[in-house]
């Protein structure tokens, strides 16, 4: 995987330091703790997924050092929250820290606010060429993803407090995956920010996250979508734990690529050109994002097919969601062919990436809104 920094010879493992060792150890301990504490709620597949998560997160942390701090902070906050709950849902109303900081809904509200402010900070940084504002934007984005991750982890715990038969990983409906989408897009952005050592793209990428957050808030306040719902039989499967996150790495990366595409187009037109990174860099980020998005979207679609085979009895039945996933996949397959085989560069690819977001957004939200099918787990 292309997550290693270039600039140092030899394998990334050589750059593993003491911190990395401790990080990995902490992950192993965390998985062990989760197994001992919650093992009774897991089947063999859940346990295998948990085991596989350890090396995956370790690898990400080793290749991208700031990720370690983020994960430790989110985990610590979630554990604190769980301790404060002490198995009683009503504590959310009584404990100050729960009510105003780290109960799931409050944490997600914090995430929303932080993402909005971060967007503002990045824009001020971009317009005023202020390094400080950009650094603030960065810090706020890190805080936002930390709070959002805490929120989801705590929500996971809360769902079990409602009832052990209700409990499930919080990536099961439109509300929950919108939080996931914001988090993954935010994290992907932060990775590229570090990798390319520029904060100038934040203003654009945070726009799409803000849009998602705005939707999330509307969904919360006008549709009361935040309430934890139990799972219908079709969703009660360990497949959800792998299918959904893989899918949202895809969606998040495509959304990020589209926003970089917008920046790219502006730069090529000479707008904000002196402030934004050169088109060459934007082009590279766009490619990297679409590549990783495509790879994970491919995996996600295949995992979805495997799950469909178990739940619905057929791995592919041209359900609207499946068909639109296929269309998204075709779209980016064509994009990659054009770029990699034809070697095409320039505004056309940027335009294509932007239009790609429209197709992706339709597959993500539009299908639930306008089309009906088996895969409608969140309606508007």
């Amino acid at each position: 995987m292309d997550i290693a920094h270039s600039g140092t010879p030899s394998s990334p493992l050589r750059r593993v330091g003491l911190g990395d060792g401790l990080f990995a150890l902490a992950l192993v301990c965390a998985a062990g703790f989760a197994l001992s504490q919650y093992g009774a709620f897991m089947d063999i597949y859940d346990k295998a997924i948990l085991a596989a998560v350890v090396p995956s997160l370790a690898a990400i942390g080793w290749a991208w050092k700031p990720f370690r701090g983020f994960l430790v902070a989110a985990a610590a906050l979630a554990l604190l929250s769980i301790t404060l709950y002490g198995g009683d849902l009503a504590r959310a109303e009584q404990a100050f820290f729960l009510k105003y900081l780290i109960s799931s809904q409050t944490a997600i509200m914090w995430m929303s606010a932080l993402f909005f402010i971060a967007t503002g900070a990045y824009w001020i940084g971009l317009i005023a060429r202020s390094d400080f504002a950009e650094k603030t934007g960065s810090a706020l984005t890190w805080s936002a993803v930390t709070m959002g991750t805490t929120g989801l982890l705590v929500r996971w715990y809360e769902s079990y407090l409602i009832g052990t038969d209700v409990g499930h990983i919080p990536i099961s409906n439109l509300y929950e995956v919108f939080v996931l989408f914001s988090l993954i897009t935010g994290l992907l952005y932060l990775y590229y920010e570090g990798h390319y050592a520029t904060r100038r793209m934040g203003a654009f990428v945070l726009l799409v996250i803000s849009a998602a957050v705005a939707f999330l808030l509307w969904y919360t306040f006008s549709r009361e979508a935040q309430e934890i719902q139990p799972l219908i039989p079709a969703l009660q499967s360990y497949w959800m734990k792998v299918h959904v996150p893989a899918n949202f790495i895809g969606y998040g990366a495509f959304a990020l690529a589209a926003m970089i595409g917008v920046a790219d187009l502006l730069v090529r037109k000479g707008i904000l050109a002196s402030r934004l990174p050169p088109a060459e860099v934007l082009d590279d980020v766009m490619y990297k994002a679409i590549a990783i998005g495509f790879a994970f979207f491919t995996i996600a679609t295949i995992l979805g097919a495997l799950w469909a085979a178990e739940a619905w009895g057929t791995y592919w039945q041209w359900d609207p969601k499946e068909t639109w996933a296929f269309i998204v996949w075709l779209n980016y397959a064509a994009w990659l062919h054009i770029r990699l085989t034809k070697g095409l560069r320039g505004p056309m690819l940027a335009w294509w990436a932007v239009i790609g977001l429209v197709v992706t957004a339709f597959a993500f939200v539009g299908v639930n809104m306008f089309l009906s099918g088996l895969h409608s787990y969140g309606s508007l």
Binding site: L98, L161, Q226
Partner: protein, 683 residues
């Protein structure tokens, strides 16, 4: 010769990138059609939607099953063809390229690389070459040296596997398409075309279905449904094809022991599971198994999935109330869900078609309180805290069983009814809800039958019987007048009120409040209508009370004291009586008891293409990752005897990190070649 060039041109075309991209685009657009138009619906739905003119046209285009239509399969076939041609065309040069090191490259061509630089070496050629080779090996390059007159060229490469990725990903597409084709309905279409199989209509007994509509055990690809009521068994699956069905014989018999249906407290379904017993026909062996959603089971190469469930013929014991004036008391009748019974008695002539039965209904009984003006802060605070909390007030309650039926009169006209078994509380009083609608599209309108002080609907039937019985009107009017005016009123006044009361009762018995309303509209000036209506209602309420007292004393029941509760019961009785005159049938059915029988619907499939598709998917993932993340790099280091050197780097793809990589290697190599001038080695 010309022919050859034409086929050559065709081959060039279909293996070209432009053709492939066009195909991807066309495929994408074609796929959209099937998501906009609901697929595989009953043909009647399409007929209703498009009308008789367009319906056959769209059918011809295959729009009702786009993904199985000939033209869609043709696009897919072209995709397979194009991809295959592309693989064939690329494989040989690619393999050649993978193997070759190009250790005989010309200096001029190396100097033409975008990433190249001329260096100097202070070492003897052999020594320098050794050092560089060691460096290349340490950095994961495979290298080969080409000795030439003026020195030596070290040609190195890494990441050639990315080419294999291409091969894997593209063969994966071909495999997935072929596998999908095997599992699609093409095999079925071929059997119908070549094996003379024809579909038949679904409305007949399985034993009546002819052999040409049955598929044998040798069918290697199918997808169908098995319907089994509890305690019954089945050995055939039903395949829905266009607007008909085909039967698929199964090599085993499936019996349903029990169907489990569990719900969360919100009424959301929680678990569907079938306890089944499978008996193999050939060996006689049997297996017990529970099939659940997400937990399928394979037997004899056939996968079984929990698809859905239905009523398997629940028995309902009904109490029929004859609503005609002077009708006899309630009668008992038994009915089975999914079946029809004739009701021919006392001049009634109806068919009762019992449609469905629900053993419970979860309803939100919370009263919608008018939203108080809340500040933004308060709204925000409501949404903080745990995700478990419900912001809107909810009071979920199981209101008990309900059933739906149709009553068809002798002329064939039918109305739909939905009744609840148990009384339901509304606004502080209890009612039996009886719903009716004229058309399936309309919502049910509910008649609320009030429960009396004993918690039974009996008083209402009594009161209703009295109010609608014309022969009792005079007596009721008499008693009402006596109660209302007292003993001292004059006979003229009495007579007038008696007459008005009789007329009111008569009108009410005709069509309830509606008739009264019409009467008021036609006889009373607009300004006085409200007042008049008030008077009529008072008369009706008073008469109802008298009617009830009369009925009670006739059957020897103790007299009642009129209080607020009874007053409400009287008004509710009047309302329900009025509604009952628009109930559309002279029969009301109360559910006395039931025996629920469920049926499971299992999907059974034999899909020979599945392993092929799965294998293809694996290749696709490996291929995509190899193509995108294995970076091919070729590094050339030319060392000349005269001390000149040249380093050049090429990559299969242009990207920003190529330059970075080049600079890194260039520096390292420059240092190796000329240790004296090199900056101190990095720690």
């Amino acid at each position: 010769m010309r022919q050859r060039s034409t086929s050559r041109a065709f081959y060039e075309l279909i293996s070209s990138m432009r053709f492939a991209i066009s195909l991807l685009t066309i495929l994408g657009i074609a796929s959209i059609i099937g998501t906009v138009l609901k697929q595989n619906e009953p043909y009647n739905n399409y007929l209703n939607q498009f009308g008789p003119y367009w319906f056959p046209f769209f059918e011809e285009l295959g729009l009702y099953a786009v993904y199985n239509s000939a033209w869609f399969l043709l696009i897919l076939a072209f995709l397979v063809l194009s991809t295959t041609a592309c693989i064939v065309r690329q494989t040989q040069p690619m393999l050649k390229d993978m193997r070759s090191f190009r250790e005989h490259a010309k200096e001029a061509s190396l100097a033409a690389f975008q990433h190249h630089e001329r260096l100097h070496t202070a070492l003897p050629t052999d020594n320098a070459a050794q050092k560089i080779q060691a460096y290349l090996a340490a950095n994961g390059f495979q290298s080969r040296s080409g000795t030439r007159e003026d020195g030596v060229l070290l040609a190195a490469k890494q990441g050639s596997w990315t080419r294999v990725g291409y091969f894997l990903a593209h063969s994966a597409i071909v495999l997935i398409c072929i596998g999908g084709l095997l599992d699609g309905n093409l095999p079925l279409k071929m059997q119908m075309a070549l094996g003379g199989k024809t579909t038949t209509s679904g409305n007949q007994l399985i034993s009546d279905i002819k052999p040409e509509s049955r598929l044998g055990l040798d069918n290697w690809s199918f997808r169908g449904n098995v319907f089994i009521p509890e305690g019954k068994s089945s050995n055939v699956a039903i395949l829905n094809v266009k607007d008909g069905i085909l039967l698929q014989d199964l090599p085993f018999t499936v019996s349903l022991r029990k169907f489990h249906l569990e719900h969360y407290s919100t009424g959301m379904p929680k678990r569907f599971a079938s306890d089944i017993l499978i008996t193999d026909k050939a060996s006689g062996k049997s297996v017990e198994k529970t099939i659940e959603v997400n937990k399928p089971f394979e037997f004899d190469g056939i996968m079984m999935y929990q698809a859905s469930f239905e009523d398997g013929g629940s028995r309902l014991h009904l109490l029929g109330h004859d609503l005609r004036s002077g009708g006899k008391g309630p009668f008992q009748t038994d009915a089975t869900v999914g079946e029809a019974i004739k009701l021919k008695q006392d001049g009634l002539d109806y068919t009762l078609e019992l449609g469905s039965f629900r053993p419970f209904n979860i309803e939100n009984m919370a009263n919608e309180e008018p939203a108080a003006e809340t500040s933004k802060m308060a709204t925000l605070e409501k949404h903080l805290g745990s995700g478990a909390r419900s912001v809107s007030k909810k009071d979920l309650r199981n209101v008990g069983p309900s059933f739906e039926y149709k009553l068809r009169d002798s002329a064939g006209q039918a109305r739909e009814y939905q009744n609840y078994m148990l009384p339901i509380e509304q606004d502080g009083a209890w009612y039996m809800l009886a719903g009716m609608r004229d058309t399936p599209a309309a919502p049910f309108r509910f008649m609320r039958i009030p429960m009396d002080q004993d918690g039974k609907p009996d008083s209402w039937f009594t009161i209703r019987g009295m109010l609608l019985d014309k022969s009792r009107h005079a007596e009721i009017a008499n008693r009402f007048v006596t109660t209302a005016l007292g003993p001292d009123a004059g006979e003229t006044v009495r007579e007038r009120l008696r007459e008005t009361t009789r007329k009111t009762l008569e009108l009410f018995a005709l069509g309830g409040f509606e008739s009264l309303g019409k009467f008021i509209e036609s006889t009373v000036p607009a300004a006085e209508r409200d007042k008049a209506a008030d008077v009529f209602v008072k008369i009706l309420e008073g008469s109802t009370w008298e009617a009830w007292k009369l009925a009670r004393s006739a059957t020897g029941q103790p007299p009642l004291e009129l209080d607020q509760k009874l007053g409400r019961l009287l008004r509710d009785s009047l309302n329900a009586t009025s509604d009952s005159l628009h109930y559309g049938a002279p029969l009301y059915f109360q559910l006395a008891s039931f025996e629920e029988v469920r049926a499971t619907v299992l999907q059974v499939t034999r899909s020979p293409g599945k392993p092929v598709v799965y294998f293809g998917s694996l290749l696709l993932v490996l291929g995509v990752f190899a193509m995108l993340y294995i970076r091919e790099r070729r590094l050339f280091v030319l060392i000349k005897h005269n001390g000149d050197a040249l380093v050049a780097l090429s990559a299969n793809r242009k990207s920003m990190d190529v330059e970075e990589t080049f600079q890194r290697h260039r520096k390292a190599i420059a240092a190796l070649l000329d240790p004296a001038t090199a900056p101190p080695a990095q720690s």
